[in-house]
């Protein structure tokens, strides 16, 4: 599957934020005279409209030129954004944000009304936002989105210019991450109405309230600049004068540009990664995406056959898949929830919920369990099919799994590689034995994965069902929603059940391998959503 299509925007990750090279260094390096960073995107910038942004390029640009109520800080901490402080009511349904006095790049004040306007615009059916569903916990979202109520009925109100009150229909502990995402950015009514359909289709027909402002983008060209925004409330923290972004779609060209020093970073492809992985300039960026194998448990062989599912899991050698077959920096998984997605008290969720048998390779044990599984179903041999995407990576993955699973006695594996849409529709209708699926978190909380495998979730393609799992997830979203410790334990327990019962088999966590010039410091990476934050970045003297 082409990940960029689902990578998309979403909440900026607080968890597992990596501070790059500057991390750990106490001494301030000497700043270079030229504070211009040369960045590269491999795709065009399709829009700057917060309501319409769906891709990583616009998500990243918006994150740096605009600011929502909160902003992600170092570690898993949310930093204050336009909101100085916020309070959540006891029942978890009312969120009150107190806003600071800050300004748009045209000098007008950023007020609570800008948030109300922007949010209503995003959920309004005629805007056709592809990320409006992130509002599904906000009061009246469903009715508004279906056109049954007016957008003014949305559960968000301005109390004076500097207080915003949000009413949710049910508690949502991770709402704080959502308000840092692009779909929740403020929008100036005056600007949107002034430019009409041209709004945010080029850099001058928009206003900005973030650390940078966008210049030099005519809507379709391959170059643009993030210029320091002097009107940003925290402008004195911004060290970079500009980030010049260039689109390079050819990997070879990108490498040459990096080597010649024309650009400061390079996202390597598999071949380049293998050549450059020893370089001190190489950094692995884990993304919050997981590829996993789902079993069809609606009917047929895998239904109620936990031994069969466990045997498949034990027969797949994930480290071999990531190291030898994919070899692009991707990581072997510990469970379904990716590493560095969510942390609590210094513990990574993936470590807390680790179940050894869920992702380890043990062919001997696999064979034993497989024989038992065959006996249980009263067969001596069986042919099963694996459905997956027809991308190069999809094909490599299925061929590898096929070679691994044929080592199980009496099992013949066939593979079907189809286009993305076809895979989705076949998964949805249950037309598969096993399918390689993928998911990317919209926000840095384990629930973005855990909610997938409750009994009635539409993305639970295989219809795996477990009472205990459902209860845990329900508690995390319900009675424990405002108790961080209990909620964490609920989700850890759910993940353990999923792995012990082998509801799915995690295959690999997608990662990108990035080369970064040693004089670039403080660029922050997020595994979900916007990916890059330049507000604290700087360039050290390297002449």
């Amino acid at each position: 599957m082409r990940l960029s299509r689902i990578l998309a925007l979403s909440a900026v990750s607080g968890a597992s934020l990596l501070l790059l090279a500057a991390c750990g260094s106490q001494n301030k390096r000497h700043l270079a005279r030229s504070q211009t960073l040369h960045w590269v995107e491999s795709a065009d910038l399709p829009t700057m409209d917060p309501s319409k942004s769906t891709d990583v390029v616009s998500g990243g640009a918006l994150h740096n030129v605009d600011e929502g109520l909160l902003r992600i800080g170092q570690g898993s901490q949310l930093r204050p954004g336009v909101a100085k402080t916020y309070q959540v009511s006891k029942n978890g349904k009312t969120w009150t944000f107190d806003l600071r006095h800050s300004k748009w790049s045209n000098g007008r004040p950023v007020t609570a009304a800008d948030f109300v306007y922007g949010w209503r615009r995003t959920v309004k059916p005629s805007t056709a936002s592809q990320f409006a569903y992130l509002y599904d916990h906000v009061k009246n979202y469903d009715a508004i989105h279906k056109g049954k109520r007016a957008p003014t009925q949305l559960g968000v109100k301005a109390h004076g210019p500097y207080q915003l009150v949000v009413t949710l229909s049910r508690p949502q502990s991770y709402f704080k991450y959502l308000v840092a995402a692009q779909a929740f950015l403020p929008q100036s009514r005056q600007t949107v109405e002034r430019y009409g359909t041209k709004y945010a289709t080029n850099s001058s027909d928009a206003v900005y309230n973030g650390p940078f402002k966008l210049t030099g983008w005519q809507g379709t060209n391959d170059n643009w600049t993030l210029q320091r925004n002097r009107r940003y409330w925290n402008a004195k923290q911004t060290k970079l004068r500009a980030v010049k972004v260039q689109v390079i779609k050819n990997q070879g060209t990108w490498l040459s540009q990096y080597q010649s020093g024309k650009v400061d970073e390079l996202m390597t492809d598999g071949t380049q990664y293998r050549q450059l992985k020893k370089s001190p300039e190489m950094h692995i960026r884990n993304s919050a995406s997981m590829f996993y194998l789902e079993f069809n448990q609606r009917q047929g062989f895998f239904k109620n056959n936990v031994d069969a599912r466990k045997a498949v899991a034990l027969a797949i050698d994930q480290p071999a898949l990531t190291k030898n077959i994919l070899a692009d920096g991707s990581q072997a998984p510990k469970g379904l929830v990716p590493t560095q997605l969510a942390k609590r008290g210094g513990t990574d969720f993936a470590d807390a919920a680790y179940v050894k048998s869920g992702t380890t390779y043990d062919l001997q044990q696999a064979r034993v369990l497989w024989k038992k599984a065959l006996q249980q179903s009263g067969r001596s041999r069986i042919t099963l099919n694996i459905l997956a995407d027809d991308t190069p990576v999809g094909k490599k993955t299925t061929e590898f799994i096929q070679s691994q699973l044929t080592k199980l006695p009496g099992l013949k594996i066939t593979i079907t590689n189809v286009p993305f849409n076809v895979r989705l529709s076949r998964s949805a209708t249950g037309a598969f034995n096993m399918v390689v699926s993928a998911w990317i978190a919209d926000f840095p909380d384990a629930i973005s994965f855990s909610s997938l495998f409750t009994s009635h979730n539409a993305y639970n393609r295989g219809h795996w069902q477990n009472q205990g799992y459902d209860t845990d997830v329900q508690n995390a979203e319900g009675k424990d929603a405002n108790d961080p410790d209990a909620r964490w334990n609920d989700l850890v327990s759910a993940e353990k059940i999923l792995m012990q019962q082998q509801g799915v088999v995690p295959l690999y966590q997608r990662s990108q391998a990035q080369m970064l010039k040693p004089y670039v410091h403080g660029v922050q990476y997020f595994p979900t959503g916007a990916q890059w934050d330049f507000s604290r970045a700087y360039i050290s003297d390297h002449q």
Partner: protein
């Protein structure tokens, strides 16, 4: 001539109409939508977005709307760039492509003719042999390989010209050379073969016998006559440059329509794919039309008129 032209233009429009129709229905057969995040959208949300793009109407209605739009210069809205009309996307990107194509055409054809002619005049000397070697290399090395070699040696190692990007004449040099290599080789080879034939013909002997100077004979009689077949290959050369530009623009990060075409295919941006296909077809048909007209100008025998019947 006027009647001929009108007839040609009529056929041109007819062809264009067929191209539009075929592309439209081919695109409808493909499984692409403007939905970027399909997996996470509810059916209601999907329907809402498709409606915005007019994709919920029956296909024949979409077709009529599209054809009517095209003849008014409206190619719809891009799936990839939100709210961006495809016509703007193309008009803002066609400049670099035209510039590059024209430069490559000039750099390929004119030196090609000169070198080819020189090879024929100096037949079987070292000049001829080296010309043959160069043109064989030009034909056999694909433009994208040449592009990467130029980037590495001339751009990265020698640092004479920028490796990629767009922003002034210096940026056009490497991509122009990469694009021009194959037209250059084709023209040179073609001119040489024709010139050798012409130089052996009776009327050249006659011209020489009349006492014209060597270069006078070559310029007035030999070159002009050998160019007639060369003009026929300009059409295919233009096609060559257009298709080559898709790869070359991608390699050199040039904001042209070739690069956009590739990108649109990868992102299932069907309105843009259709529009670029139509633009390419128009460009090609115009080039062919011009070739035919030029053909008539240099060779009076080929001039088509109503009198031939």
């Amino acid at each position: 001539m006027a009647k001929y032209l009108l007839k040609r233009i009529f056929y041109l429009l007819l062809t264009l109409f067929i191209v539009i129709t075929v592309t439209f229905f081919l695109m409808k057969l493909l499984p692409g939508t403007p939905l970027q995040n399909q997996q996470k959208l509810s059916p209601t949300e999907q329907h809402l977005i498709l409606k915005q793009y007019g994709l919920t109407k029956p296909v024949w209605q979409q077709y009529l709307t599209y054809v009517a739009g095209v003849f008014h210069g409206n190619f719809g809205t891009s799936f990839q760039f939100s709210d961006q009309p495809v016509s703007y996307l193309i008009s803002s990107r066609i400049g670099p492509s035209l510039l590059l194509g024209t430069q490559a055409m000039i750099l390929g054809v004119i030196p090609g003719i000169l070198v080819g002619a020189l090879g024929a005049i100096k037949k079987n000397t070292w000049v001829d042999t080296s010309m043959t070697v160069i043109s064989i290399l030009g034909i056999s090395i694909p433009s994208f390989v040449l592009a990467v070699l130029l980037q590495y040696f001339v751009g990265l190692k020698l640092q004479w010209f920028p490796i990629a990007d767009w922003g002034g004449f210096a940026y056009t040099v490497l991509p122009t050379i990469a694009l021009a290599a194959s037209p250059f080789a084709d023209t040179a080879r073609f001119t040489r073969t024709e010139m050798v034939d012409v130089l052996n013909s009776d009327y050249i002997e006659l011209a020489r016998a009349k006492g014209l100077s060597k270069w006078g004979v070559i310029y007035h009689h030999a070159l002009r006559n050998s160019l007639i077949p060369v003009v026929t290959i300009i059409g295919p050369l233009a096609v060559n440059i257009m298709t080559g530009s898709m790869v070359i623009e991608n390699i050199f990060s040039i904001p042209g329509i070739g690069e956009q075409f590739v990108k649109s295919i990868l992102t299932n941006d069907y309105p843009t794919i259709m529009a670029v296909t139509i633009v390419y077809s128009v460009m090609l048909m115009v080039v062919l039309l011009i070739t035919d007209i030029v053909y008539g100008i240099i060779d009076p025998r080929i001039r088509i008129s109503g009198k031939s019947n």
